[in-house]
Amino acid sequence: MWRFILKRLIMLIPVLFGVALIVYFIMDLTPGDPAVIIAGEDATPEQREAIREELGLNDPFIVRYGRYMFNLFRGDMGRSMLSKVDVFPTYFQKLPASLALAFGSIIVALLLSIPLGVLSATHQNTWVDTLCTIIGMLGMSMPNFWLGMMLIIAFSNKLGWFPSGGFDGLKSLILPSITEGVFLLALIMRNTRSSMLDVIRQDYIVTAKAKGVNRRGIIWHHAFRNALIPIITVAGMNFAYVLCGPVLTETVFSWPGVGRLVYDGITKTDTQLVTGCLILSCMFVSVINLVVDIIYAFVDPRIKAQYSK
């Protein structure tokens, strides 16, 4: 088990090199001279040249990339070109808001999707199932930033129940969590349903029924535990995305999170900031994927047995 975790962590290193290379390369193509961005529009050509020399911007691409990676391994992600603050603390300053949003939306999604999915599977082809299917279909098809605006119109402008933006306590978390969670809700619900339907038809469920186990016991104890693996995969994979990419939800709700930070960085050509934030985000994604794999092992003894080999 430990060897497996260690191996996965070591495999992370080339991925991070790759991510940095791609991001560095794309940001390098971005029009706009970093020297102008740093020195301002009215700097003289000499001043700009001095800044370029100082930052090593005149070096070839591969030299700059190499230097960046060298510094990265010493724990130095450089400074934001605009705010002149180190990238590392900037990222972690924005992280709590993003984490809160990520957990909020996962909670919204899991609390509703799993019961609805199970209900839908156990009542296959009834009106309950149809209703759940429709909810799932709508949730998958709705642009979430639009849903966010609709929620603002209804619950903060008309009814005044929740604030329309900003991160200020639990109350401000509710609308963004629903906005970000709805797609996930639909996705997990559909997965739970099909996964449950697969399991319900297995022989051991029939056996349990024949032995006289009550319905609730069969569904939650026998069927649901075995249906959990695909559900965990989807939830885990998407948790990572919710954590790193909710730019749109963060924009709609003026949420001070990482997605917004990266977006601002990209539009202002702040290469240092963007590269650093994306590398950190990818680390999170990979670590979460690793955690998901470990959770599997706890849910499914068969997988655990594979690891211990």
Partner: protein
């Protein structure tokens, strides 16, 4: 006894007749036609395509779609302006209907971009194996671990704001998924007997891949394509919403939403119609896609 045999023989030939000439394609179409959801989706999608194609016939771009008419600004929906008007007095009904062409074009073209990249790289990886596969799949992993919306934002800002660049950005950010699906599918086909047989009669590698392996691996790729068209329409609207998509004043649905955002408190009509338009389009694609998946692989149907 002999009569029984005769009837059995008749039944057999009847059965054989009904299956004869029924290709896999026709089987799939037959199952698809029986799926109500898929047919509704297809119908709605067809209507949206027609609206997109007729945009220039129905409305005059210069006057109806982008022409200002300040006197009529910010009207609620009424008999003249079914969806109301925006802050420049432009009719939202005309703008939303005209906007269909942008979303559809971006949805299709960007998916073609990702399909092209993914199909080529995925089939090379799946068929060749070895270090080639390793290199391609590790690069795919890297792209996969970047959140696709952030990747798309970065690509658009590197290439500049335009519809073509938006298509490329969305296409590139989704290519990794196609690459994975194609590889997995080709990998299972590669080991089958017919590939061995084709090799045995001396067919070239290129021919085997193009004529035999890819056609047989298509089902999951087709399913993936419909899913991605829906996703691409939403991503493109999202990027336009952030101001990184189709340049103004074109009435792309995402840009309409972004303009309406400033009027959320006093004039919510501006964001309702464009959002519904996106949702209906994506819903139609998803319904059709679900039906297609069930028709291609009935085992998956629940």
């Amino acid at each position: 006894m002999s009569k029984n045999k005769e009837t059995a023989a008749v039944v057999e030939t009847e059965v054989a007749k009904s299956y004869k000439g029924r290709s896999q394609f026709r089987e799939v179409m037959h199952r698809l036609r029986k799926n109500k959801g898929a047919m509704v989706g297809l119908f709605v999608f067809a209507v949206i395509i027609i609206i997109a194609l007729l945009g220039d016939v129905l409305f005059d771009y210069e006057t109806d779609v982008i022409g200002n008419n300040i006197v009529d600004r910010l009207q609620s929906p009424n008999a003249n302006h079914w969806f109301g008007t925006d802050e420049m007095g432009r009719d939202l009904f005309a703008r939303v209907l005209y906007g269909a062409r942008y979303s559809l074009a971006i949805g299709f073209v960007s998916t073609l971009v990702s399909l092209g990249i993914g199909l080529v790289l995925g089939s090379i990886a799946g068929y060749k194996g070895g270090w080639v596969e390793n290199v391609i799949m590790r690069i795919t992993d890297i792209f996969y671990s970047l959140p696709s919306i952030l990747l798309a934002i970065a690509v658009v800002s590197a290439l500049g704001n335009s519809m073509l660049n938006l298509m490329i950005a969305v296409g590139v950010s989704n290519a990794a998924a196609f690459c994975r699906v194609t590889r997995a599918s080709v990998l299972t086909e590669r080991g089958k007997d017919y590939v061995e047989a084709a090799r045995a009669i001396g067919q070239g590698e290129m021919r085997i891949v193009l004529k035999h392996v890819i056609p047989n691996s298509l089902s999951p790729i087709i399913v993936q394509t419909t899913v991605r068209v829906a996703g691409a329409i939403i991503s493109a609207a999202g990027l336009s919403f952030l101001g990184l998509g189709v340049p103004l004043p074109a009435p792309e649905w995402g840009s309409l939403l972004s303009m309406g955002r400033g009027y959320l408190r006093d004039y919510p009509y501006m964001v309702i119609a464009p959002g519904l338009a996106i949702m209906i389009t994506v819903l139609a694609v998803n319904l059709f896609g679900d039906g297609l998946r069930d028709a291609i692989d009935p085992k998956l149907k629940k």
